[in-house]
């Protein structure tokens, strides 16, 4: 087996299965942020990076289906919103225990993914994008019509999720670490899936679905399973988002949110998983910095995004890789 693996490393192309040290470094930095935050505006920094990690989870799920499965969903925010609404609605009825609300959030998003996926998977490429967008908007308008739960105004969550009556997420720092743990587990899970038997079929279905069918794979079912996994993880992000913001609103499911998730994936580097973390951090931090300077921050962010997509195929990760290669060749910058 060692021989097999050694042979793999001689393949000349940058293989997607060699993430290297970068993911470990990313998680190390994220683990150290609470300590570093004590030196600055602590609660602001903790809140900001909690948000970054929550969106990183959602973006990672999107990267899994789009980067590895070729299923570019424009309705991914719906899963996040559904997860968040489960927390809000259960909370409104006095159920705050996460042993109930967390599985419920995952399940609700997974069911939504299964039902919509059954329809969406019948279409391809642009049609797939449009139909996922349509389902996303459907979820958005349904949430807005939930009059008992705040309608368009949303719903305040009075108490963060508890664990066996213990309010363990009440502390911002604990919440931060809990979100970090979820992000880490999601990353490990997706990385394992991508290389597993299932993942190989899922990736193959993106490369050449006809060929996969003639090999004997029911492409539709495999893609739907992948879609359900991504939906459930989107629900996890929603569960965490509701707890982080102590608020849920239909805006969580708007198509702009879905678009932001796609931007995060592209910005970080599609088809890499940890790129989604970099993308979410890049997007939210730039938003935070630029919006402090000017209200029209998107005027600056837009062109920046265009530059990254044009000149750094593979997003920020691709850019970092290209620079590393230059340094490794020892060539001074031309």
């Amino acid at each position: 087996m060692a021989q097999t693996l050694a042979a793999f490393s001689t393949v000349p192309l940058r293989r997607p299965d060699r993430p290297g040290l970068l993911p470990a470094m990313i998680f190390l930095v994220l683990a150290l942020i609470p300590a570093a935050a004590t030196l600055g505006p602590q609660s602001y920094l903790l809140g900001l990076f909690t948000r970054v990690m929550v969106f990183a989870i959602a973006a990672m799920a999107l990267d899994f289906i789009s980067g590895y499965g070729g299923l570019v969903s424009f309705g991914h925010a719906a899963f996040v919103g559904i997860g968040a609404y489960v927390v809000g609605i259960l909370g409104a009825h006095g159920i705050t225990d996460m042993l109930v609300s967390l599985p419920a959030a995952l399940l609700a998003s997974a069911i939504f993914a299964y039902l919509t996926g059954t329809v969406c998977m019948r279409t391809k490429s642009v049609y797939f994008i449009m139909i996922t967008l349509a389902f996303g908007q459907m979820a958005y308008f349904i949430a807005g019509s939930l009059a008992p739960y705040g309608g368009d105004d949303g719903l305040t969550i009075r108490l963060r999720s508890t664990l066996l009556a213990f309010p363990f997420l009440q502390n911002d720092r604990t919440l931060y670490y809990f979100v970090l743990l979820c992000l880490f587990l999601a990353y490990l899970m997706f990385r394992a899936i991508v290389y597993s038997r299932f993942g190989r079929v899922f990736r193959g279905a993106r490369e050449n679905p006809t060929r996969m069918a003639t090999l004997g794979f029911d492409v539709f079912r495999f893609q739907r399973v992948g879609y359900v996994i991504a939906g459930a993880v989107g629900g996890l992000a929603g569960f965490l988002l509701a707890n982080a913001t102590e608020f849920v609103s239909p805006a969580y499911m708007s198509w702009q949110r879905s678009g932001e998730l796609i931007i995060m994936v592209l910005f970080g580097g599609i088809g890499s998983l940890h790129g989604a973390i970099v993308g979410a951090a890049g997007y939210l931090l730039i938003e935070e910095i630029l919006s402090g300077i000017t209200e029209q921050w998107k005027l600056i962010f837009g062109p920046l995004l265009v530059l990254v997509v044009l000149f750094a195929r593979g997003g920020l990760l691709g850019l970092a890789g290209a620079m590393r290669e230059r340094l490794a060749r020892g060539r001074p910058r031309a």
Binding site: M1, T4, L5, A7, F8, T10, V11, L13, A192, I193, Y195, S196, R197, F198, G199, R200, V201, R203, G204, E207, N208, T210, R211, M212, A213, T214, L215, G216, F217, D218, V219, F222, V225
Partner: protein
């Protein structure tokens, strides 16, 4: 034919007003290599697409090992042991040659609903895949990405993927298409090795290959079987000479 692997009867298919399969009836015996030849546009690929399940026929039946498979989707037919290659190379470009074939093995043995252990380290898959690659002359190319293989190597890879399925019937859609003289000679050798071990339906333009390999030849023109029989009989059939071989041999 006693107990054929494949029986097609009165198969019909049209794309709008264009009739592409016009009452085709043919069968393939166990271990037989049945070649289908015919000019471009005769409906050879459409026929293979209907047998492999990528296109639904308008009428007629397809029986495979005695069971009616006319309504089955492609993946179910593959599960039953029907493998095919494509005229226009159809592999997974960003998978290594080994992984392309290992996937075919994975489809045949073991569930694919495993989510955690690494698939590329599974020895049973890899060993079977390496054997299939060696059989088509791709030993040593296991870890090359399919998109980096030469055209002839891609043709061989297609064949290896089909072989790894250990099929009961191999549908080969112009396996020599676009290959150079040397490569096609090598592929003919490979096919000669496979002859007898697998039942095969071979669609091919290379007449050297067809007459060297086929047990039986059917000539397809305008979606119809013009003639069918042993190679020497077909070769001298005046209808065939007029319709097809004549112009080819000029």
């Amino acid at each position: 034919m006693v107990d054929p692997v494949l029986e097609i009867s009165d198969l019909r298919k049209n794309f709008g007003g264009l009739v592409v399969t016009d009452g085709v009836t043919l069968d393939i015996g166990r271990g037989e290599l049945h070649a289908v030849i015919g000019p471009n546009g005769a409906g050879k690929t459409t026929l293979i697409n209907q047998i492999s399940g990528l296109i639904t026929p308008a009428a007629g039946t397809i029986r495979f090992n005695g069971a009616d498979i006319t309504g089955l989707p492609a993946n179910k037919r593959a599960e039953l042991g029907l493998a095919r290659s494509f005229q226009i190379t159809s592999v997974l470009p960003r998978f290594s040659a080994l992984e392309n074939v290992a996937l075919a093995v994975q489809a045949r043995i073991g569930t694919s609903y495993r989510f955690f252990a690494r698939a590329d380290c599974e020895q049973p898959f890899n060993e079977a895949a390496i054997a299939a690659l060696a059989e088509v002359g791709l030993a040593g190319r296991e870890h090359t990405l399919a998109e980096h293989l030469s055209h002839g190597e891609k043709r061989a890879l297609e064949l290896a993927m089909a072989l790894a399925m250990q099929p009961k019937l191999l549908l080969l859609d112009e396996p020599m298409a676009g290959t150079g003289h040397e490569e096609s000679a090598r592929l003919i050798d490979v096919l000669r090795q496979l002859k007898g071990r697998f039942s095969m339906l071979l669609v091919e333009h290379d007449m050297n290959a067809v007459f060297a390999l086929a047990d039986r030849i059917s000539v397809l023109t305008h979606g119809r079987i013009l003639a069918s029989g042993a190679p020497h009989a077909v070769r001298t059939d005046p209808k065939v000479v007029a319709a097809y071989l004549g112009e080819e041999m000029e």
